[in-house]
């Protein structure tokens, strides 16, 4: 009965295996949505990542302790021979001062802000190079929910898109799936800040008549109900006005390098804080 003489069973099986991803893509309206079936695995993954994070912290601590011991030995030899104790102490004090300044900056930012913030440490990054996400050390147990904004003292980092009990995943501003409503602080021109993967950003849908120049600061508009109004997002790197294009092509440089950030704040409640006046004064 099989006129074309092929294995019907194999063909049906192959079609079923090919249809599975296609149906999955078709059914997924929001690429960041997670189903109940993801939960146990993401929870298990989060526990394992916490364990690895603690372990790597320990390894780093031991390594730096060992290196410090070598430094101390070296310094002692130098002190005996060249009397450079004061200089060494001064260097160490400068180092401590820098660390102190950084921590004080974080504390004063939290204290001076009306926003309800929760600090967290960056634990891990996305498995695939095609996505810019981070795992942070605070989760739903600490009051974190999907959709909350994540910031650092210098600017916007991203937003929470997945939470576990003790960890959360942050979609960085630079990820391809990330879009944030933005305003150019100087001219109040509006646009959508879209991630381009890697470390790039672009401001889209800016009308050609708008006044945008390189060096302008782009801030959050607050309209997306995720980020507080007036928080720095990026600086305009390049503006191109092509005659045939319907809008300006605006390239941005993020205010902070998301790859280098170590501590972040999750905004639990923005308390309607508007930071625009501070940005205007800085400009």
């Amino acid at each position: 009965m099989n006129f074309l003489n092929f294995d019907l069973k194999k063909l049906v099986l192959t079609l079923a295996l090919l249809l599975l991803p296609l149906i999955s893509i078709n059914m997924q309206q929001n690429p960041l949505s997670t189903g109940w079936y993801d939960k146990p695995f993401s929870m298990l993954g989060s526990f394992i990542q916490v364990a690895f994070f603690e372990f790597s912290d320990g390894v780093r601590g031991t390594t730096s302790l060992y290196l410090n011991l070598i430094d101390i030995k070296k310094n002692n030899q130098l002190l005996e021979s060249k009397n450079r104790e004061l200089q060494t102490r001064l260097d160490q004090m400068n180092e401590l001062q820098a660390e102190n300044d950084r921590l004080r900056g974080l504390m004063s930012f939290q204290a001076s802000s009306r926003m309800e913030l929760i600090p967290a440490r960056v634990m891990s990054k996305d498995l695939l190079a095609d996505h810019n996400t981070l795992q942070i050390s605070k989760g739903s147990q600490h009051g974190i929910k999907v959709g909350q904004a994540v910031i650092a003292t210098g600017g916007v980092v991203g937003h929470i898109f997945r939470t576990e009990n003790f960890t959360s995943q942050v979609l960085l501003l630079t990820d391809r799936y990330s879009v944030v409503d933005g305003i150019v602080a100087r001219s109040r021109s509006r646009g959508i800040v879209e991630g381009r993967g890697g470390s790039g950003l672009s401001l889209k849908y800016v009308e050609k008549s708008e006044d945008v120049v390189a060096g302008d600061i782009v801030i959050t508009s607050g309209l997306d109900n995720i980020f507080p109004k007036g928080f720095p997002v990026a600086r305009v790197k390049e503006v191109e006005n092509k005659s045939y294009a319907v809008s300006l092509r605006v390239e941005l440089e993020p205010s902070i390098d998301p790859d280098k950030v170590e501590e972040v704040f999750v905004i639990l409640n923005a308390n309607n804080q508007d930071l625009s006046p501070q940005i205007s004064m800085q400009e």
Partner: protein
């Protein structure tokens, strides 16, 4: 029944180790080496399954591993990952039927080629299906291809060893069953 039990055990251990390795790469590697690209060890495991399992079994197993990795460690939707794996499997399988010899050397070359193919297929799929597709990220992808190739031989040896251990267990079990049957 016993055979399927051991096949399940074999795959369960492989999936668990791949899951742990992915956690290691996203956390431990990141803490020590920052944003420097990590080897795609999980892709080597997937390649091994593509080469050393029956076609249907291989596709189902790599779909399951893809689901585990996507659910726990990435923002990438599972549909695209499955589609990329299916295309990758089709290419690897058609090459394997024409040109294959078992051993670490073949696996090394296959790993380099598969990692390169994975990136190409991923970018193309993303260009076709996503509104804001993945970029070239050339430097990062090249480093990943080299690193993945470098860790392919140890991965192959470990996987082959585990397959041999499982097969021995399976043979012992079968022998015991036959003997018991003979006595009875």
């Amino acid at each position: 029944m016993q055979t399927s039990k051991f096949h399940f055990l074999n795959f369960f251990v492989i999936a668990l180790v791949t899951f742990l390795l992915a956690a290691f790469l996203t956390t431990f590697w990141f803490q020590l080496f920052g944003d420097f690209p990590a080897p795609l060890v999980w892709l080597n495991v997937i390649l091994y399954l593509m080469l050393y399992r029956r076609p249907t079994e291989a596709v189902l197993e790599i779909y399951l591993i893809g689901f585990l990795l996507s659910a726990a460690y990435s923002a990438q939707p599972i549909g695209i990952i499955w589609l990329v794996f299916f295309v990758l499997f089709s290419i690897v399988y058609s090459v394997k039927t024409r040109f294959f010899w078992p051993g670490p050397r073949y696996f090394f070359f296959a790993s380099m080629a598969t990692t390169t193919l994975y990136h190409i297929v991923f970018v193309l799929t993303s260009q076709v299906l996503e509104s804001n597709p993945s970029g070239a990220l050339l430097g990062q992808r090249i480093v990943e291809v080299i690193f993945t190739g470098l860790v392919s031989i140890p991965t192959f040896l470990v996987m082959e060893k585990w397959d041999r251990i499982s097969a021995d267990e399976l043979a012992n079990e079968a022998a015991t069953q036959t003997n018991t049957g003979a006595v009875e």
